[in-house]
């Protein structure tokens, strides 16, 4: 029972990291229609940047990483994503894949190949919970931060002018532009948000494991999280991430560690086939 509860608690913790990255995916996909394959690289760069500022403590390092990677995301939109608007799925995916390669190579040149480490956000490494379970304090911080971020983003989407413009520009950029929104600036904000969320996840992951370009592979689960939650739902992305994380750790505990990634991919496949709209998303209507 303790194993089971530990898997669920740990899974929820890691899952909230997937949820953070998935939030970024949802924001970009919702607004620009681009499926962002560079989320993992952005996350890894966030981890590396925060680790290189590690001497000033977790929180300052994470904040710097968030700011820097948000700028990288915005820059990516301005330089290479903007010309792709309205050209369909294939070009967007390929350019984000190219961007991943550029980010990986550049970070290798800037940060070198050796793995770096980041201090924990809270001094005590683990927190003891009832029924003999325990949780890493960093994972606890991850859950709290991701829930707070999701709430903040949902409020921003529903209540602020930029959020409303973003939702309008996502549906019909031309009409939104007629009503005074500037779609290309709005989309830059979306990319900055995606970069910031990925960097936050990256900093937390760097403090949990190591900061290394290879942690980019973690972000693959974010695709599963995005589909399970529903591609147009922010809360769904977070809950989807947590669900995927729990399933992954349960598979890891009971089937073996090599089942972790395949289990999340199996979940992705099952949802795509049975319920592509996800748990909280609205079904896509295709008019031929």
């Amino acid at each position: 029972v303790t194993d089971f509860l530990n898997a669920i608690i740990g899974g929820a913790g890691f899952g909230s990291l997937y949820g953070l990255v998935a939030l970024g995916l949802v924001v970009v996909f919702k607004s620009t229609g681009i499926l962002n394959f560079s989320a993992g690289a952005l996350m890894a760069v966030g981890g590396l940047v925060s680790a290189s500022f590690g001497s000033s403590g977790f929180w300052i390092a994470a904040a710097l990483a968030v700011a820097i990677v948000a700028a990288v995301g915005a820059l990516a939109n301005v330089t290479v994503m903007r010309p792709l608007l309205g050209r369909g799925l294939f070009p967007g995916v390929m350019v984000t894949i190219g961007l991943t390669s550029v980010l990986e190579g550049t970070s290798g040149i800037v940060f070198g190949q050796q793995a770096r480490f980041l201090v924990n956000p809270i001094a005590s490494p683990t927190i003891t919970l009832p029924f003999g379970t325990s949780m890493s304090s960093t994972l606890m911080v991850a859950v709290v931060l991701s829930v707070a971020t999701t709430l903040l983003l949902s409020i921003a989407f529903k209540r602020t002018a930029v959020g409303l413009q973003l939702r309008a520009a996502a549906v019909r950029p031309e009409v939104a532009a007629m009503f005074g929104a500037n779609p290309s600036r709005i989309f830059t904000y979306a990319w900055a948000v995606a970069g910031a969320l990925a960097a936050l996840a990256g900093a937390l992951l760097a403090s949990l494991t190591v900061a290394d370009i290879s942690i980019a592979a973690f972000a693959l689960r974010a695709f599963a999280a995005m589909i399970v939650g529903g591609v147009d739902s922010l809360g769904g992305a977070l809950l989807g991430g947590i669900l995927v994380g729990i399933i992954e750790l349960l598979a890891g505990t009971y089937l073996g560690d090599d089942y972790r990634l395949p289990s999340t991919m199996a979940v992705l496949m099952v949802f795509l086939l049975i319920r592509p709209a996800g748990l909280f998303g609205t079904a896509e209507v295709i008019r031929p």
Binding site: F29, L35, V80, P83, L84, R87, L89, F90, P91, V93, M94, V95, I97, G98, L99, T100, S101, V102, L103, E104, G105, T106, G108, I109, L220, F223, A224, I227, V231, D258, Y259, L261, P262, M265, A266, L268, M269, L272, L273, P276, I286, P288
Partner: protein
């Protein structure tokens, strides 16, 4: 007067029609000649690189048919290579059969797996279909890993030297010729498929599936057969690739491997066989070029001020990414677009128009 220009126009029109066929035949003859003579002219190092490029073409060409002609965006080709390699390994090592049998078996298994991986394409499209191929990639590679540890041990399947009908073909040069023959076969098959009614039906399904269905084309049959056919060809290529590499190890079949072949068809030109060849050569030569550059100048420059040339691997990664981005953003029709505009320019110059 006006009559004679009419005749002249008709004649140039006819010669313009006749020219591409003659030109194409001449090009194919020239390419065959170059392919035969090449390994006798260059060192074995460059023969190896040429082998890599030709093999890459043989694998990327079916993928281009699936993505460029049939419009099914897939990240699953790495998985199909693995399916081919492990089927080939089982046939070769457990039943002691030779390459042609192994390739036929791999093609058969590849066709079945391709059919299954293609099934979601009946319900999903766009980003959803892409993600289903992403999931399929990891599930198939995981199954391959279980198969590998069960049958061959954790290190992977080590292939014997290539033999066909008792003749040893494992030298660099004979390996090159085997792969060239296979690539030509694949090219010929795809060329003929795309010229047939079936190929035009595929293009129709890509352009507008509803209109294709209204014209009496069974959209789901076209999609599934395209998945099955191209996967069979990729899997057959996977056997040859494993022979060329000397082993089938699951670590090789990554998502990045799958992306390499997509990069080739992007750089070369979507839906174009000649473009696939250009793209395969280009992407194969990029790391070679960066390495040479780095080897030539990196040592002295890098030692002095730690320039980027001292990081050949990272530089390769950056250049590779920039190439993909540059082609998608600036030249979506790929290298074959340059060839086409050069050709129309040449025709215009020759005809004095």
């Amino acid at each position: 007067m006006s009559q004679s220009t009419g005749v002249a126009e008709r004649r140039t029109g006819m010669s313009l029609q006749a020219k591409p066929i003659a030109l194409r035949a001449a090009l194919v003859a020239l390419a065959t000649l170059v392919a035969i003579v090449l390994p006798f002219l260059v060192s074995s190092y460059w023969t190896l690189i040429a082998t890599n490029a030709v093999l890459a073409f043989a694998i990327a060409a079916p993928l281009n048919m699936l993505i460029g002609n049939a419009g099914q965006f897939s990240l699953g080709n790495g998985a199909f290579l693995a399916v081919g390699a492990y089927t080939g390994a089982a046939v070769t090592l457990k039943f002691d059969l030779e390459l042609p049998v192994a390739m036929l078996a791999a093609a058969a298994v590849g066709a079945v797996v391709g059919l299954v991986v293609g099934l979601p394409s009946l319900r999903l499209r766009g980003a959803y279909l892409l993600m289903s191929t992403l999931a399929a990639h990891y599930i198939v590679v995981f199954a391959a890993q279980k198969f590998q540890t069960g049958l061959f041990g954790a290190a992977g399947a080590i292939f014997p030297p290539l033999r066909i009908a008792g003749t040893d073909l494992s030298s660099t040069r004979s390996m090159y010729f085997v792969i060239v023959v296979f690539a030509m076969l694949i090219g010929l098959i795809i060329f003929n498929i795309m010229r047939s009614g079936y190929g035009r039906a595929l293009e129709a399904v890509k352009a507008r599936d509803v209109a294709a269905a209204a014209s009496g084309i069974s959209v789901s049959r076209m999609k599934l057969s395209a998945w099955s056919l191209t996967s069979a060809m990729i899997a057959a290529g996977g056997v040859l690739q494993a022979y060329f590499l000397g082993a089938a190890a699951v670590e090789y079949y990554t998502l990045n491997l799958a992306i390499t072949y997509i990069a080739m068809i992007i750089v070369g030109g979507l839906g174009s066989l000649g473009g696939t060849f250009l793209g395969a050569c280009f992407i194969t030569l990029v790391p070679v070029g960066v390495n040479h550059l780095s080897g030539k100048y990196g040592a002295e420059v890098g030692a002095k001020n730690g320039g980027i040339l001292a990081h050949p691997y990272e530089l390769q990664t950056v250049v590779y990414g920039l190439i993909i981005i540059a082609f998608v953003v600036l030249k979506p029709e790929g290298l074959v677009g340059f060839v086409r505009s050069a050709k129309s320019w040449a025709i215009r110059a020759l005809c004095g128009r």
